[in-house]
Symmetry: C2
Subunit: 328 residues, 2 copies
């Protein structure tokens, strides 16, 4: 009997990566295509499907591919659509029935979920949450994403959109958010958010800082991290402010779903203790006493493969569910 | 074959009410005992068990009682304990293994959950959430309780303590809360919270108000409601402020679990449109656009029986689960 495998696909703003993955997270084949060379979703899907099919052909002797899992921004597990994804040229301002389009090219189950949910599944199946049934994963990238796992399953909610912790209100009359409202958590706690905090601090204080040499467009969260390692006062203060706000909102998240642990993942999370220490301090100070100590820890997955592994975990879980229910 | 029934018990600070309830919510027998005449949990349990057993004997010819469900403040479904319940004389500052104590008197399944969770189950099985799998119920009593239903089941979380929306942070450096922290939602949005808001407004403004005749101890949320019906400016403003804060935090709750609807229940919710209109306005203004309109509605259950019905729903659900799993 041939070994079973699935395809995991990670759709990012610039590149789309995919891999053929077995049940033990071994990668049997992989590839990538540019994401945003076209404004036509059908054209993108055909291009991607051809690349994936070519990879499947290459390993056809070794494995049989049983399904395809996709992680993508603004995607909805329940309706299979990518909805108003501002950073995908072919999905900007539109609802794309992505699963339906993709299934025209493949005769196997296809499922999609947003990137934070896919990362949470990856953490549960391959990472630090292996023994956990209730946890939260926070992605700190350009924005702030969250995947909530409850009783061993992703929390999707009524319409598939649960887990938008990036859009809880962090400040009354706060910063303008890309969602059109003010004060959302991700306007403070994300790679973009900490940049905005740095610029506020540069305006407020007179301390010398190497960050005074960067334009807003040139500044990155990595630059802020490196400045912090050199004890730059503005960079250090920016991490304090960011972690403190994150800690408060993680305590609120615990009051909703009472997880066993909270994992941090993504670009800004790579700043290590600079973000982790103030986050933990604020979190523990703000946690309702009834809750036992909930650890806030770094994801055990390396960024390189978590997205495709998470997407593959999505479809493995689907296949298991279908097997249990006796249909496919 | 005799008709099946269960016992639902509602432990309040003053009275403990119970009823024998069939699957259609018909009440076959009922009774009550005072809750807080003793500091000894064992004594209270024996008193309650005797009263419940007497009621069971009375209907022994008509029904066979299959289990006992209990709703009580600060109680934990997962470990069967009542933990640090400040308003129960025999549980103040202690962890009471209530289910274990109660089972010494009964040879049938016993389960306990907090009052807000019991009310949510009541709403799901007998009330306005009959067709819903994802909803939130908020109890606006002395404090603010919440029961979160996800995928047709109560969200308990890792340790049984999920659904503490009364203790999310509503204001930085806000009012002192009984939990020891500052700014918790229930210090603003609850019967006690709106009283505190009225006193703040009476201090801040000079408008004449009938509420200037009440001491803090004499003032109730009913008094504030009646003043509002007579267009008292302080009472009206207090409801506006209360509803606005509740709306913001309900929008945040939707960002966590994406429910189909939110139900309001309890003393303060009886103020009808005075609380509902500003809550809805603020909620809709603050809801992330991606979410479809989520209705904020009054519970369909009447306060008189919801607590015991909710507790009976808890044990009906347990009995169904056990039947499906083939054990009891």
């Amino acid at each position: 009997m041939q070994k079973e495998a699935v395809v995991g696909i990670d759709i990012g703003g610039t590149f789309t990566k995919f891999a053929i993955v077995d049940r033990l997270a071994n990668i049997m084949g992989e590839g990538s295509i540019p994401t945003s060379r076209t404004n036509d979703a059908g054209e993108y899907v055909t291009h991607l499907a051809n690349a994936v099919n070519a990879s499947i052909q290459e390993v056809a002797g070794q494995v049989v591919v049983k399904g395809i899992g996709i992680g993508a921004p603004n995607s909805n597990y329940k309706n299979g659509c990518i909805e108003y994804a501002v950073n995908l040229t072919w999905a900007h301002g539109k609802i794309i029935p992505f699963v339906q389009l993709f299934k025209q090219h493949f005769n196997m189950p296809v499922a999609i979920t947003n990137d934070a949910n896919a990362a949470a599944l990856g953490e549960m199946i391959y990472g630090g949450a292996k023994e956990m049934k209730d946890f939260i994963l926070i992605t700190l990238g350009t924005g702030l994403g969250s995947g909530l796992v409850v009783n061993g399953e992703l929390l999707y909610g009524h319409d598939g959109l649960a887990g938008e912790i990036g859009h809880v209100r962090a400040k009354d009359n706060g910063r303008i958010c890309s969602c059109g409202r003010r004060g959302c958590l991700e306007t403070y706690v994300s790679a973009q958010g900490i940049k905005r905090t740095v610029f506020e601090l540069l305006a407020e204080y007179t301390n010398p800082s190497e960050l005074r040499n960067y334009s807003f467009n040139d500044l990155t969260s990595e630059t802020i991290y490196h400045a912090a390692t050199r004890n730059d006062p503005i960079a250090l203060k920016a991490f304090e402010i960011t972690g403190e706000l994150l800690g408060v909102k993680l305590a609120d998240a615990v009051a909703h779903t009472s997880p066993q642990a909270i994992f941090l993942f993504g670009g800004l999370a790579k700043s290590g203790d600079y973000i982790l220490r103030p986050t933990r301090e604020s979190f523990e100070k703000n946690l309702l006493k009834n809750f036992q100590k909930v650890p806030v820890i770094m994801s055990l997955l390396t960024e390189g493969n978590v997205a495709v592994l998470g997407a593959s975990a999505l479809i493995w879980q689907e296949l298991n569910l279908h097997a249990h229910n006796g249909n496919n």
